[in-house]
Amino acid sequence: MRSNRTTSATLLLLTGLTLAALPAFATGAVGDKAPDFSLKGVDGKTVSLADLKGRVVVLEWINPNCPFSDRHVREKTMTTLNKKYGQVVWLGINSTNPGHRDFLKPADHLAYNQKNGITYSVLYDETGQVGKAYDAKTTPHLYIIDEQGKIVYNGAIDDDPSGRKGMPERVNYVDGGLAEELASKPVDPASTKPYGCSIKY
């Protein structure tokens, strides 16, 4: 009897140690499982990553009051890609703290989206928990998640922080990454340094 109890305790201990080691994998790095989230959009609709299993997903950290994010909105960098890859789910995430002056209320955010032709869902992450789970740092900061829910790209939208180059001269990493992912090729580069404003957590 004692032996069985000891064995059970050992099994529980080892299982616990194993499970304790597993969460350390979720850091937003390429190759990690994309942290799950369920967030309410500026249109009031809730989107859960778990519901998008089997689809390629792009996450774009956005802040309309950040000049970099706004420049790409005006240049239609993201909306053009969203249209080009219709089979991909494109989600904007705004992790701006509601107490920060950059925070836009839903009506204002919706108006901004409509004015700039943003037809994809933009979600509020007011606590910043999702942004921090992904280790998102800048606006814009982009992630590509594959059909199995694994992060395959983490980084900048392109190689032109200053916006000096013309569109054709820029290397758009997300465009290249999506083309490779949809062709079942490894995404290369899988990681770049994102640029822009710091996220206003």
């Binding site: 790095a29 009051n65 000096r164 990681s191 994102p194 822009g196 710091s198």
Partner: protein, 427 residues
């Protein structure tokens, strides 16, 4: 009253700043016009009254920043981007090289960091005469930069022009207004260890167990200044964490945590790291040291001659640990699951079980410092399978074939533990 003060103080500071910006700035032969905005002003400067006819020509990109605003170092940190300068034709000069003075670290909301400069900075621009005497200095620079405070970031773009006549005869004469400024910031550009007598550097990857790897940089032959800082240039394979610094008998040691950008991939054998250590004293003078060093990332890779000792264990040590663990676990299971002995021997058995359990836990702790998270998880699963096999084997006393199969399972699991320990070592 308090509210009135809260309004008046920022207004006064703002007015003073605006007055500084809007005051007439005489166009000096040693400086371009200033480009001015609410957060910053920028200009090109030279340290000379007249341009030097030959040799090295020193220039600078001079920023003055409003309180609370900063511009960036070559690695901007978690956000932002460093200034980009594109020069037009530079007749008689080689392409100017932008140098990066020792940066500061700025803590941003959300546990983010930025590396750069507040208040004022001159980015030195180094160039050389390529043509003979007779050419005036004529420089045009398109400057893109980002200026940020804790709350917002603003990008700016200006074209700056600087024209300076050639020195009539002899060497260039220093300009009393700009020469001290250029010299001060030129002296803040980090130097290599070879440029400092008695100074050596080394870099190595150190294993911090479950905390992951860290880059350890040692600078010997210096003293620690007020607060030494370690700044890494952007790396293709690693993100960096918060550095720690401490003095040693020989100098200073600094460690910065590294996190692979791509999880689950084997690390290359070695990788190059470009780093800068600031806040040092050499012969009583403040200095910053920089280096680009190739660092072994896996045990067994030959050390760089200048590298320090990596603390990753050698393969035999790990294998011995794994073997000892498997043996202990087998003894433990056997001790617990063997046919029951007489009641008077029970205390001894219990003590043995306790010691064995402590030994296994200790071993798991040691393993957690030697292997990756993923490796540890698989090892623990294998140990779990061993326990299951041993338990089932005891219950299958009347079925010899099943007992043999489970015995084989025990052996396979033991070998799996050894194999996993050897193939999932931390770098």
């Amino acid at each position: 009253m308090r509210r009135g003060l809260q309004t008046i103080v920022p207004l006064t500071l703002g007015t003073l700043w605006a007055a500084t910006l809007l005051a007439p700035h005489p166009v000096h032969g040693a400086a371009s016009d200033r480009a001015v905005n609410e957060q910053s002003q920028v200009r090109l400067i030279t340290p000379y009254r007249t341009a030097p006819p030959d040799g090295e020509v020193r220039l600078g990109l001079h920023f003055k920043l409003a309180p609370g605003w900063h511009v960036y170092w070559k690695n901007s940190g978690d956000a932002g981007f460093p200034p980009v300068v594109v020069f037009g034709e530079t007749p008689g000069l080689s392409a100017p090289e932008l140098l990066w003075p020792a940066p500061e670290r700025f803590e941003l909301p959300g546990d983010l960091v930025a590396f750069g400069y507040a208040d004022e900075v001159v980015y030195p621009l180094r160039t050389r005469r390529t043509a003979g005497p007779g050419t005036a200095l004529s420089l045009s620079a398109d400057v893109d930069y980002l200026v940020c405070d804790d709350e917002e970031c603003l990008p700016y773009r200006y074209t700056l022009k600087l024209d300076q006549p050639l020195a009539a005869t002899g060497p260039a004469e220093p300009d009393p207004a700009t020469e001290p400024l250029v010299t001060t910031w030129w002296n803040r550009v980090p130097v290599s260890a070879e440029a400092l007598a008695g100074v050596t550097t080394s870099a190595a990857l150190v294993d911090r167990g479950t905390a992951g790897p860290a880059l350890e940089v040692r600078v010997d032959g210096v003293q620690s200044g007020t607060s030494p800082g370690l700044f890494l240039e952007s790396h293709e394979a690693f993100d960096t964490g918060r550095p720690e610094a401490g003095p040693t008998e020989e100098g200073v040691v600094l460690r910065v945590p590294l996190r692979p950008k791509v999880a689950g991939q084997p690390l290359p054998k070695e990788s190059s790291f470009a780093w800068t250590v600031t806040g040092l004293l050499h012969e009583g003078r403040p200095v910053s040291v920089e280096a680009r060093q190739t660092v072994p990332l896996r045990a067994g890779t030959p050390q760089e001659p200048t590298g320090g000792a990596a603390s990753s264990p050698a393969r035999p040590v790990l294998t011995a640990l794994g073997a000892a663990g498997a043996l202990l676990l087998a003894l433990w299971l056997w001790g617990l699951l063997a046919p029951r002995t007489a009641p008077e021997t029970r205390p001894g058995r219990e003590a043995w079980g306790f010691v064995s359990a402590a030994a296994v836990l200790g071993l798991l702790y040691v393993l957690s410092r030697q292997v990756t998270f993923e490796g540890l998880a698989w090892i623990e699963l294998s140990l779990l399978a061993m326990a299951l096999c041993a338990w089932l084997r005891r219950r299958a006393a009347s079925r010899p074939a099943l007992r043999h199969a489970l015995g084989l399972g025990l052996l396979v699991c033991t070998l799996a533990v050894l194999w996993l320990a050897g193939h999932n070592r931390l770098p």
